[in-house]
Symmetry: D2
Subunit: 295 residues, 4 copies
């Protein structure tokens, strides 16, 4: 390449640094290795570096090259976790973009895990994995792994309201109505937990799925025969949960499960319910560190 | 314009006619007049004509011109219904594309209607209007109006299953449990009814909304205080509905409400539930004519 | 199951048959076998049967069971093409829903194929596969395979317009300007070809990709170094194409490539450009049979 | 309401504060007043407060009530700008949720502005307005207004590459090729500028649109006849721009236009191109303050 056509390396006319410059929506199949076997994930990647104030453009094709080189390597040698792939990419981005001081990689992919219904029926359930890494020159790369799970939650507030109403209209059942779960609105819920993985530590996505699903009123299943369905509905109504409850329960379990993680460990938990009695959604979220949670 | 640059009018190299050629995703604010006042709808339009086998290209800018001219006119003189706007546009498209034998306009827009909760609290609820027209040269333009409403439905099958389970675990309540609505899964449901409007007839979108909402287990509301919420939950559980039931009830009410419409009148009804116990949706649909329904 | 809880099998109150009843958005990884190896596709499936007028509900869990059984089998014995998977499922749906006379399966999945840039650089490019099958009791199952490819097209009309303008402002270059491709608007284009696969015939998705990409102004590539980029841009401008041209060229090539397919073979081709000079898209579409095209 | 059913006010079991709790996707028509007239915007709102560690739930219906009360008022008395509406809502949210220390409102809505093509043809062009406010108890509410515009950008790098190639293949035109804009890839671009509005200051959305559109290679238009089209294409190729250039030019113009805004003023600019030669997008972004930009 002669100099005249390396337009990106020219001096920028307007001298402002840029926070993030890169490519979004790059799709690649990635071979991931787990203790229990390998798996192909169809991943979508966003890949950025920063840009100093005096350089006109970022060489974006290098971002895609980094992806391809690493992803091609995974065919021969599967990566151990998407967050480690993102981390390796962040290092190589800083190598390839010598002018950059920051690099970032965001990945998301569909993921499947075999789950058992209350009556022992197994099916492959679908989740979304999210991984992220942030590189800073001459500093440790920070990496994150997370998962989004779809589950069910039942409203504790409406349950109390309907219980009272039913007692009024059926006074003879007043005592009995305290003994059984009563009707309330329930709905599809989408909950995400995203956790920093400290150096020398590991987070298994399947554990995060377990933590999220056990914090909802109930997990959901693709195949439910009649008996399973009744079990799930009863279980969900015996565990009514606000989105607020879901987030707090996950925070509590994560703290316990990863009690050796340092106070600086970043964590984000978000739970959103597609309210069946409203046209809008209900959302609760906490963005914090382990240190703040432990106070 | 000299001939050399009217590239569209040149002879096509490959001689195939095309079913639909046009523009999609054109956004325009449209002033609509109702018996009870005017309203601005932010509409998205898809606008097509067909193309004969010997002509290279369609003059797509004419489609957008038709839109703009008509929409500009609505500022001074609001249209009476989106389906009539679509119909007028279909006529003008055939005028402007002298080579076309078919024209089609699809419109959708957010719509708001004031609704009252069980306890008399009013709020503006959101719906989607859909309108469509199909023009054929030397033939009557066919026009359609429809609406999508979000509501709630509760599963009648799981309700029977949990009732049986609860009777087993609470045998002393066995009789009482037949007297009250019991727990089941319920969820957000999106239902669409789309109806042909025959010549000389009219369909009011607000009537379609009424028909859809009364066919669901319950309509939903943006604002519900505690008492309202209990009312809605109880009402929804006293009307458990499969998506199949929702579609059939709408078909039945439409037939009754528009009993003077001819047998050739086209109708489509679709109901989709975001199942709270599954990660997938449940859907029921009927595409037919009034004539077939009346058999 | 005792009779009282098989709510679906009860008599329907409103006696209308339903066109389609089923589940949508079921996600499953599917192992597909190709002449050149196996591959895991992350598929999303919609699965329907019809419902006679006298039956209250469809047993939707059977739809998901059919999926799971077949998909589980593909782990041991990969299917040869998604359209054959859809076809097998349609047969089993009619077996499991003894009351149904129609079954339908729609599948879409991300797909990757190694492609070479003009300068010989290879990368895995992303496409969307679509497959569909329709079963009718006592009749042959019809099956379809298709693909959506993202490419680039350049506008032939604006090219002529700018050539004229440039000749006016640069009269000394008038002759030269006829010798080179001149500037025009170009843009991302999404084109889909969906083809019925007749009994005893086969359609290879990679062939459809080749047909679509060669009918656009240019295919696109994830990695392009500077020299590649110039090649692609020049090639695309030497092949300016309306969406109308793209659809017709695909129709022509499909007819030639599958010249032994019967006249009843169904075909749909759609090309949509995200116009760079407009906020809306341009679309051309043909829905027809081989018989009509051969006329 | 008796105490037993105010489930939200109960003590939380897990004692963690929550960053944001609220409702998302609330749709309302809002009457906005401008110096040049009023207009109805169909807005979508997300409305949050924080939640202290000891309280079980947030009273979400109050969020929707705040919306409705204020929006109802706009019918009689249009608001002067969505950012002011968001700001007023943030204040009322803190009043209604006495336990909250933070409130946040995010709004987006379609917006239309009359624009003129190079040849003087006018049309209503579509944009997206975004507004946001953040309230903190006993502190000033911060408010933001922004806009997303769709335009066109042409790649300066590929233009140099093709110019060189064309010189090689057409050596006789070598000098002339430096005189004219040559072919390159161009594409639809979506650019957003979001700006804090300091106390006592005002930002007019139409000015932000002007700043964004003049920083792209060219704005786009819904209606372009042949002559307009050529003008736009030539203009866009005379102003080739990376997404990096677009962001920097906007930053520069915003600094100049709002030179009396304090250094603490927050600004975010993002430009994303739907690359016509790639399947992925290119993105540049800067998130900063006026103070940092002025350094």
């Amino acid at each position: 390449m002669n100099e005249s056509t390396d337009v990106q390396s020219r001096l920028a006319e307007k001298r402002f640094k840029l926070t993030r410059v890169g490519v979004t929506g790059v799709k690649k199949p990635i071979e991931v290795k787990r203790p229990w076997g390998s798996r192909t994930l169809n991943a979508t990647l966003d890949i950025y570096v920063d840009l100093p104030s005096d350089q006109k453009g970022s060489h974006m094709s290098r971002n895609v090259e980094v992806t391809s080189e690493i992803v091609d390597k995974t065919v021969r040698e599967p990566v151990e976790g998407l967050e480690n792939l993102a981390s390796t990419m962040c290092g190589q981005l800083l190598d390839k973009h010598e002018y950059a001081s920051y690099s970032e990689v965001d990945i998301h992919a569909d993921y499947f895990l075999e789950k058992e219904s209350p009556k022992g029926r197994t099916s492959l359930e679908n989740y979304q994995i999210r991984a992220k890494a942030e590189g800073r020159r001459n500093s440790r790369i920070r990496k994150y792994i997370g998962v989004t799970a779809i589950g069910m939650n039942t409203c504790p507030c409406a349950m109390e309201g309907t219980r009272e109403k039913l007692k009024e209209t059926h006074p003879e059942m007043a005592n009995d109505l305290d003994e059984i779960p009563v009707i309330t609105h329930n709905q599809r819920n989408e909950t995400t937990a995203m956790l920093e993985v400290p150096a020398e530590k590991e987070v298994e996505v399947n554990d995060l799925i377990e933590i999220i699903e056990s914090s909802l009123s109930s997990p959901t299943h693709e195949i439910l025969k009649r008996e399973d369905e009744a079990e799930i509905v009863i279980q969900a109504h015996e565990n009514p949960k606000f989105v607020e409850d879901v987030v707090r329960e996950i925070l509590s379990k994560v703290l316990e499960r990863y009690d050796d993680f340092p106070g600086s460990t970043h964590i984000e938990v978000k739970s959103e319910s597609e309210e069946s009695i409203h046209k809008h959604n209900a959302l609760a979220e906490r963005i914090t560190t382990f240190g703040e949670l432990r106070e």
